[in-house]
Symmetry: C2
């Protein structure tokens, strides 16, 4: 279902269409990254930016501690609706001693479990309007949280592709002029 807003078509929120993305992300990343050279996966965009290995650790941490916990907090009968802050740097500790394939499998396993939990919640349209308290934004709805989970997945697929592309930046020669991704 689409509706018109400022001359642009945007999708309405849908649990089913959100799950279509959430359930695919680990498989997409496994096929993109597993078995390729660490020249692609251990290199970043410079300074304090993340490489593909860091990003998979970050996705695992989000699935372990954030998205579904916040969903359950919003839906629970407990009065405390204030979310715990998300640790954006936990992966640097948690991923230590693991290789990328292990992380990709771990992400796949936690995501499968989370999708099952999410389906079992049988979220209704009324539930989607229930709210929690975000540490920065204040009141947010469940549909905003779940939409953000989906966009967050796609954001990191896009980021990993960009970070990998940049490793060949110097190698493309004059073509850099046509490759927008190298300038982001």
């Amino acid at each position: 279902m689409l509706y018109i807003l400022q001359k642009k078509l945007y999708m309405e929120f849908s649990i089913d269409k959100s799950l279509q993305i959430l359930e695919r992300t680990p498989t997409v990343l496994y096929h993109l990254l597993n078995g390729i050279s660490t020249d692609w996966t251990q290199a970043n965009e410079g300074d304090e930016t993340w490489n593909a290995f860091d990003v998979i650790g970050h996705l695992i941490h989000g699935d372990k501690t954030d998205w579904l916990s916040r969903t359950e907090q919003i839906l629970s009968d407990e009065p405390d609706k204030k979310f715990t802050s998300f640790d954006r740097f936990a992966q640097f500790e948690n991923s230590k001693g693991k290789n990328l394939e292990q992380l990709l499998i771990e992400f796949s396993e936690i995501r499968i479990a989370n999708i099952k939990r999410l389906r079992d919640l049988k979220i209704t349209d009324k539930d989607l309007q229930k709210t929690g308290i975000h540490p920065t934004f204040g009141e947010v709805t469940l549909s905003q949280l779940l939409s953000t989970w989906v966009v967050h997945d796609l954001d990191h697929i896009s980021q990993i592709s960009r970070v990998m592309a940049k490793q060949y930046k110097e190698q493309t020669g004059p073509w850099i002029a046509f490759l927008k991704i190298l300038k982001q």
Copy 2:
């Protein structure tokens, strides 16, 4: 192998590491896109931008007419090294009457065939320095062409993820502040 350039590490060109990306792209895109709602795959970023369906058609056209043909032209004994211009809009005609799954399979098939042809060329380090004439840039090397093919794949994976993410832009509410992809 990495070398230092302007305080940033960049990869050197490698046929094997290039093939690692080129051979994965169709599978990555199949897992990302096949079976999901057309709300994700038929929507674009507004105006004359492309949706996921358009991008897959564009990738097919590149594999049919551009990357490998130019490679073979550079390596051939023919004196004419001037490339034919690439038609960036051919997919709007070629994809007519097809569905996304058909395009994803077509892309996979042409890419498998192209990778076989590329391997059969047994490109040497010396070959990588051979040149062709690009309609805009003039002289370009084979290694620049092949690097660009890889970056072009990654650019379009990144683009498709971004275009899909934007369909939920309005649904994320205040989180838009944290989601860089929605502002690109």
